[in-house]
Every structure is written in structure tokens, then in C-alpha cells.
Symmetry: C2
Subunit: 328 residues, 2 copies
């Protein structure tokens, strides 16, 4: 049935029914959820971390390769990743959904099911939302989390000269997945599946974010625009420089097979939602021992304000100007 | 200059500059704002109220009568109204903006200026946001506020038989304004100005919301879908009925001149963002003495579950089925 035929309130009732299928976690934070003017939530900490991000048709995905369940997962996961990038714990999410009138109700429910999977895995409550018609699909999601204290957060401005630079997981797969879905990259079937999964189902590194803070790391962010662009944000806000080695970049195996193109995707592709952070060697080693994903040291923070050097395996600098994903 | 020519980061820098022009209030809640993965905020209370709402081109406004400053004001104000409708105090907002590439940078700044006016008047911090291109303009805004304690909130489910029903301010002007702007209602010039202002610049009743809670009122919401539809939400969630008198409805003078059409706008028009609440006569009288806007008793809560009767001045029932604003 189309959303237009179902009507707004009937559609909202079906969404609420999906949300109510998910059992609340141990921390019974939700005093009053969907159905009132605003959600009412009890928090543990007075220090909140809050972020919002959106996925818009024809900007972040094409209808030709849209997977509604995946869209729901990703819409929440990219916000959870921002909370992880602050070293925070997510508490609740608000979802503002815009859909064309001819959208199938079942597709909207698929979107919510995907989102609820990401919510359940991360202990996040879908506390409220809004639905409007629009000419294209857009999912605007806000996540509110918390950190235990003022100083217990990862900021972009805290990189210090001499810090090592490290990254979680493998890079380049999400951008490879987008290109595979859009038909501009032809990978072997097994790689294509891995790449498309990396594009649609990013894994927010919430546990690692907390491990970083626990071990005294104070500078971090997530890789959403691409490694080079995001490291640039850290350098700009920390008034520092960096030197990273191309040979150390943990290129995802499914794009590493592409050679230099794979390295380029890892450096500038974006949407990997891994954590990029800086800190002392000993702290990073402790993090690596605790984290359940690879932690790779890729370079170090230098004095040169804003200057980023990427050194190739031949010792020469690789030009990286204009790297990263721009929304315009 | 068009947004496409300015580029994403330059546009964000200009938006940040606008936001930084506004001095923070006494409560220095913002630890770290725009520029990091998430905003970091310190709150007073552990009980949060959180809401999200959007304004989308061709659904909530037409480009033909778009006023960017007003759009910014309204995008925030409608969310502030939801916080008011919980009896809460707004703390901070996150703004997810979607704009076509050919949008003028100056128009985006106008939008933010309008939003910042509403933020300043209500003591709300614009703590973060996101910007994306899209084929149509959409402003998705989230506001997080707080209430002092669990029971100190207005809920839709708390109406009790015998409660009187009251509403703040005057109704029908916002819907009259929309019709005037769209050209389907021709009002005298002086009325047209008042109506258009009511449509674009709703005044969130934050102070009244707090006065309600302070005086023991426990049931309230804001009038966004229209008086009949919204009272219907209260009745459904409170499993109660209501009987209201048409002659008591505080129809806005600029639509009251239209006779029955004015009453209809007040009953079903929506977007007035006044507060609708129920409580004991003595509590309402105390509220009326403290509030800086008119408080009008329009009827009472009855036993009949979900049943709403609107009694005309001739004593006969006025049919009100299918009243209110639907988004589909």
C-alpha cells in the first residue's frame, strides 16, 4: 500500500508497532516516547553529545540501488559513529523522515527495521520523530548520547606534535561500494558484495571510542569525508601538521586489489566511519590490545600548521590536494 | 553568490560566523559546539525533552511566498513550541538543512538569522547541524530541552473527566495567513499582514508551559494540526471525551471578521502553536493570572472515550469529522 493511501496517522501507528517490538535495554531511560509533543528521557550524565546527519536521495544514494533496510541502518549508524567519535555512549535518536507520497508503506517499515537493528545493537532508543511528504526520500536523524565528564571526550582540537596518528579497521571499501553500486567500478563478485556491504552497513565504533577515552586519548574523529580531508580537519583545529605513510594505510583488501586506485579510495573515498585518532604510542598500544578491531598507526603529528604530507613507498610525497568528499 | 559556487565548507564558515554573533546566555551550557563530530553540552536536569520537526518546500510553504528569515524563525519556533507543550525549557538545537545548489548564500544566512532570533529570545543554543544539497528546500530541526523532574511535564494522556479545557492566545490566524499567502483568502491589507505574520512567526509559549506545570497542570499539548484534531489526540491518549462551545473559541480577530469561515479556521486550521491544556478551574485561574497572554476556557473533559462534541451558539452540535491538518 502507498503511503498516500495509508494516511499519516495509520503509517505512524505501524512505525510505532515496529519500534515497540524491540525490547528496551537495561537502562530504562525512556519515560515517555512517541505520541507526545516531545520524548521525555532520563539520562545518567549531565554531559551530553548531540549530532545530526542526513541521507538524501540522489546525493547519498540513488533510487536505482536503494535498499530500504540498509538505508535505515546507515541513517542511524552514521550518527552513532559521530557519538563514537566523541568517545560517547548513544542514548536516543529522533528521526525526521521525508518521503514521496507514492512510497510503499512496507518500504518505510523496512527502513525502520534496519534502523532498529542498529539501535538494538548500540542500545539506542528511537525516542521520537516526524514524517512529512516530499518529492524525494530524505532521512534526517539526530542522536543524543553522553560522556561521563567534561574532559572525557574526543575532540578534533587536541592533536599535539609528536602524537602518533592511528585509524581503526580498513579503509576505502565504502567508497568502492558506492562506485560498484553506481556501476563505475567493476569488482569480482565476492569483492562487490563486501564493498556494497561496507557502503550500506557501516559499523559505528562505539566500543573503541570509549576504549580510547579510557586510555587517555583526547583527539579523535570519524572518517566520513575521507582520511585526507578528515585528518585535515584535525590539523586545522589543532593547528598542527601531519606526515603519514601510504604503505601503512590499512587499505581494505577488496579495494587493495585495485592497486593505486584502491589506495586513492582509502585516502579520499570517505564514508568508512572508522575512527581516526592521535595519541602517545603507549596509549595506542593499550587501545590496540583492548579493541576488537585492527588499530593501525599510519603516521605522526608534526609542527607544520595545517600541512599534511603523504609519503609514498618510494619516499616521495603523494599529492593529496582537494581530497575528500564534498557535499556541493 | 550561489551555494554551489561558495562550496560546503565556506558556507558552513559563514553560518558559524552568524551563530557566533549571538552572545551565549547566562547558563554557559555549551562545552564544544559546531566543528566537532558532535556538540558537547552540560545540562542542569537529567530529565530531557526532545523533539524534531521539519518544514519542506511545497508541503509547508511555497517558494512563491518564501521569506527566508521567517522560515528560519518558524523552523526553530515550531520545535520550541513542542518543548513548551511539555512544560519544558529549551536548551539547544541541531539543524539539518537541505538546499538546492542554486540557493543564494545570502538566503541561507537570512534563514540562520531568523532562526537565531528565535534562539536568542528563548535562550536556545544552536549547537550543531548539517547541510546537504537536495532538489527542494527542507529544514529539519531538533530541539533538546529539560524539565526539572519526572512528574513535572505536560502529557497528552493526563486529561481527567471534569477537567476544564483551555487554550492560550487566539486561533485561526496562521491558517488564514497560509491561505492569504497562497492567494485563496482575500483579507483587508491590515488583516493580511497580521495573518501572514501569524503564519510565519509563531510565538512558542515557553513561559506559559512552565507556568502550567508550576500550577499543577499535567495535561497539555500545542495546537499544530488544528484545535479539533489536537484535542482529539488528547482524548485518544487520555481515553476521555470532551464538549467544547464554539462561542467560547478565541477566534483571532483578523479571521473572526470572516464569520463561520473564521471559526472553521480556528477549529481546524492548525499551525497556531498555542497551548491546549486541561485542569481544575482553580489551577487555570492561577495560570490566567500569571500568564502574559489570554487564557480561555473553551469546554470540559467528559466520560465519552474519544468523543468530541462542538456545541454551536444555537445549542446544536457542529460536525467536526476529519478536522485538522494531515501531512498526506
Amino acid at each position: 500500500m502507498k503511503a498516500s493511501k495509508s494516511g499519516e496517522f495509520a503509517l505512524i501507528d505501524r512505525i510505532i508497532a515496529e519500534i515497540n517490538k524491540v525490547k528496551p535495554g537495561e537502562w530504562n531511560a525512556l519515560v515517555s516516547g512517541i505520541g507526545d509533543d516531545a520524548a521525555l528521557i532520563r539520562t545518567r550524565s549531565r554531559y551530553q553529545v548531540a549530532t545530526t546527519d542526513c541521507l538524501v536521495e540522489d546525493v547519498h544514494f540513488k533510487k536505482s540501488f536503494l535498499d530500504w533496510n540498509a538505508l535505515g541502518w546507515k541513517a542511524l549508524a552514521i550518527n552513532l559513529s559521530d557519538i563514537a567519535a566523541m568517545g560517547g555512549t548513544p542514548n536516543y535518536a529522533l528521526v525526521s523522515l521525508a518521503i514521496p507520497l507514492n512510497t510503499e508503506v512496507e518500504d518505510v517499515l523496512r527502513l525502520y527495521r534496519g534502523m532498529l537493528e542498529a539501535a538494538r545493537e548500540s542500545g539506542t532508543i528511537i525516542a521520537g520523530g516526524n514524517i512529512s511528504r516530499a518529492s524525494e526520500i530524505a532521512v534526517h536523524t539526530t542522536v543524543i548520547g553522553e560522556v561521563p565528564a567534561r574532559g572525557k571526550a574526543l575532540l578534533r582540537s587536541k592533536a599535539k606534535k609528536g602524537d602518533l596518528i592511528a585509524v581503526t579497521g580498513r579503509l576505502g571499501a565504502a567508497a568502492g561500494g558506492l562506485r560498484t553500486l553506481a556501476g563505475s567500478l567493476h569488482a569480482a563478485r565476492i569483492d562487490a558484495e563486501a564493498l556494497e556491504k561496507a557502503f550500506w552497513y557501516p559499523q559505528p565504533r562505539i566500543d573503541v571510542g570509549r576504549i580510547l577515552v579510557k586510555n587517555g586519548i583526547r583527539c579523535g574523529m570519524d572518517v566520513s569525508d575521507g582520511l585526507v580531508a578528515d585528518l585535515g580537519h584535525i590539523l586545522e583545529m589543532s593547528r598542527a601538521g601531519a606526515r603519514i605513510e601510504a604503505a601503512r594505510i590499512p587499505v581494505h583488501p577488496s579495494v587493495a586489489v585495485l592497486g593505486f586506485e584502491g589506495l586513492d579510495l582509502a585516502l579520499t573515498g570517505g564514508e568508512d566511519y572508522e575512527l581516526l585518532f592521535t595519541g602517545k604510542k603507549e596509549a595506542i598500544e593499550k587501545v590496540a590490545a583492548e579493541a576488537c578491531c585492527p588499530i593501525t598507526i599510519i603516521g605522526e603529528v608534526t609542527r607544520g600548521a595545517g600541512k599534511l604530507e603523504v609519503v609514498g613507498s618510494d619516499g616521495k610525497l603523494i599529492p593529496v590536494e582537494n581530497g575528500g568528499w564534498h557535499h556541493f
